[in-house]
Symmetry: C2
Subunit: 393 residues, 2 copies
């Protein structure tokens, strides 16, 4: 079949607040081929990813993403690889391209799975998918009291693993951070898995991060996520060396926009957990390559997802067949736009675990009516020519 | 002074052709503060960089570039660092941000230099600037005969160093490539400096690149540029190891969109030349940091520039004071949009060398009337609100 159309839909909450909640908007990709429709989702900055899809060519290595996708044939997995390789050359100088392609690539897997009557994880070579243990992904409260409340609530909902991130953590005194951590642990209970996300707060400052390692260990934190800029591998590596005797490991990788970046964070940054956002790394294919490398290196793969269950489902596929890579990020209280846009939701089962749909493709049913309620009208005109107008859903 | 406005102007040739010529369009940034005006230029994909400047916020770490720039105070060099650090946090998840900010950042240096009555290279800490040897940067011809003609013409214009790149090189047989290289050397003459740009043609395939090393050495090529994807450090490193006994060195780095990526190409990829495009790496500040690291590592810094003399002038500043880093990329036959947009041009002097203007800031006078001839009308509307319309020049 030939790829006939690619449509992008910008959904948003009526008000987007200045907080670290990535579920406040979404860019949904719809790809049509051979009478089938596939769906995917790009992470963040919808307008910019739309522009990358439709922009005029700057030169032979700076073409819009659409140029590498539209009209291509799609018969098996090698076609998705081929389209990704083509994009890498044709949009080499278009920085935003991997974020745009990410959602489109998910939709290609969804399409191909439907055509071949296989769930995506089987197309990736996994005979079966294993249940994952969801960790409740949430922000630190503004105060330790709020954090205590949030953790208690997540634990009450049945989560035995929670991650607290961003908010005031790392911005105030050591004592403030200690209070926040103690509150998170208290709310979760003694035995739960506690994870902490620093949101790159220390840039490249290894000392600032190292000063928190004692308190992280005191409350038995499993990983410290993104202490540094995504590309500051040396800072990761140095903190890992200084923390060799500790039980807390480093985690990172969500900013990777290609396989190599994630590989380098493992090879040079010595993280114990590599976290991949399929909506940023260019989709499911490069994420699977990261999972393969993680297995070789003894690193644990985890999805990074803070948006809809379409993105969640896509993000679990690359490590679905790895029984030892158990944890999965689970956005515990997404905004309504992220929840409403799909009819299918990956709810924790009776064991509190997340199990992928066994249906062809991604197995996520879209709710078009709900999407319409959040759909934004976008128009982009260049030189009198309309390059983008919100398509019909 | 406070940054009062940032305006972006999309200029283009009437027709953009599907060739590796980056001078066919331009995104010019104009920044106003305290009655002064600074100018800079972003590399490639103007529409996408405009969208990154004006897009709605997705969440607290995915804001438009404008949010980190407008209203900020600008009194000395530390303010530019501070704004760049702010952007790294506030637009962390906006992949295109460094390309957009790059042109704005150049304009901030231009502004600050005017305010402090110093050329930019002095603000960077260089007591003086040294003349550079321009190499004529051009594409391989479609045939060896064309390449011979192009090289002969560049040599006839007085260039003692030329670079041939892209076109058919690496796409056909080894014999084809050998003929191309022989033609380039013949046109240049025995003693000139010959450089070759493979344009990432071999992806991660070290063998394919290694198979060309004999022929590159036969015609005394100084560097082989971008044999691989920009982030494929291992491929660079392996080719460098296999080529230890050779005189030809590897070059790369133009794709770096932050300091770390360029550093890693030196540290892990073992390049002999690091090539930085100030229009991509986020401007002059991070490029200077790369130059400092290159000096520490014994790597030679070179600018990457294939567009206007505004970008060229900005791109030479970060290594202006390094007398041993002699070569500079010089677009030998840019499209008229790139040439016409400035009144000032950095022409080779009587010694065939490029000397930076000694005037405050970047010292490049813009030609507004010429710019108007290439200016494109762009309009971006989201949810009924116009976020961008081409501003008045």
């Amino acid at each position: 079949m030939k790829i006939e159309s690619v449509d992008l839909f910008y959904l948003t909450m009526p008000e987007v607040r200045d907080v670290g909640d990535g579920s406040q908007d979404a860019l949904v990709a719809r790809v049509s081929a051979g009478g089938l429709t596939g769906w995917g989702e790009c992470e963040a900055a919808p307008l910019v990813s739309i522009a990358a899809q439709v922009c005029p060519m700057s030169h032979s290595a700076c073409k819009p993403v659409s140029a590498s996708v539209l009209g291509q044939s799609l018969a098996d997995v090698s076609d998705i690889d081929r389209i990704a390789d083509l994009l890498a050359m044709e949009s080499m100088d278009l920085l935003q391209a991997p974020h745009t392609f990410a959602g489109i690539e998910m939709a290609l897997w969804d399409l191909l799975g439907q055509k071949l009557s296989e769930p995506v994880y089987r197309l990736l070579g996994y005979p079966r998918s294993y249940p994952k243990q969801p960790y409740a992904s949430q922000l630190f409260g503004d105060t330790p009291e709020e954090t205590l409340e949030l953790s208690r609530r997540a634990a009450g909902l049945g989560y035995s693993a929670i991650k607290c991130g961003w908010g005031p953590f790392g911005r105030g005194s050591l004592a403030d951070d200690r209070d926040q951590l103690a509150a998170a642990r208290e709310g979760l209970g003694r035995d739960g898995t506690l994870l902490v996300d620093a949101g790159q707060i220390w840039g490249e400052d290894v000392d600032a991060a190292a000063a928190r390692m004692d308190m992280l260990e005191e409350v038995k934190v499993t990983w410290l996520e993104e202490p540094f800029y995504g590309s500051a591998y040396e800072s990761y590596g140095e903190l890992a060396r200084r923390s060799k005797s500790r039980t807390v490991r480093l985690a990172g990788g969500e900013a990777s926009h290609n396989f190599h970046m994630a590989k380098h964070l493992m090879d040079y940054g010595d993280v114990g957990f590599v976290q991949i956002d399929c909506g940023r790394i260019g989709g499911i294919g490069p994420a699977k390559r990261v999972a393969d490398h993680a297995v070789r290196k003894g690193v644990t793969y985890v999805n990074h997802t803070f948006t809809s269950h379409l993105a969640l489902c896509a993000s679990i596929q690359p490590f679905a067949g790895l029984s030892d890579h158990r944890l999965c990020e689970y956005p515990v209280s997404p905004q309504s736009v992220a929840w409403d846009m799909t009819r299918t939701h990956l709810r924790p089962d009776v064991n509190g675990e997340i199990v992928l749909p066994d249906s062809p493709g991604l197995g996520i049913e879209i709710d078009r009516d709900a999407m319409k309620r959040y759909l934004v009208d976008v128009s982009i005109t260049v030189g009198g020519k309309t390059l983008y107008e919100t398509p019909a859903l």
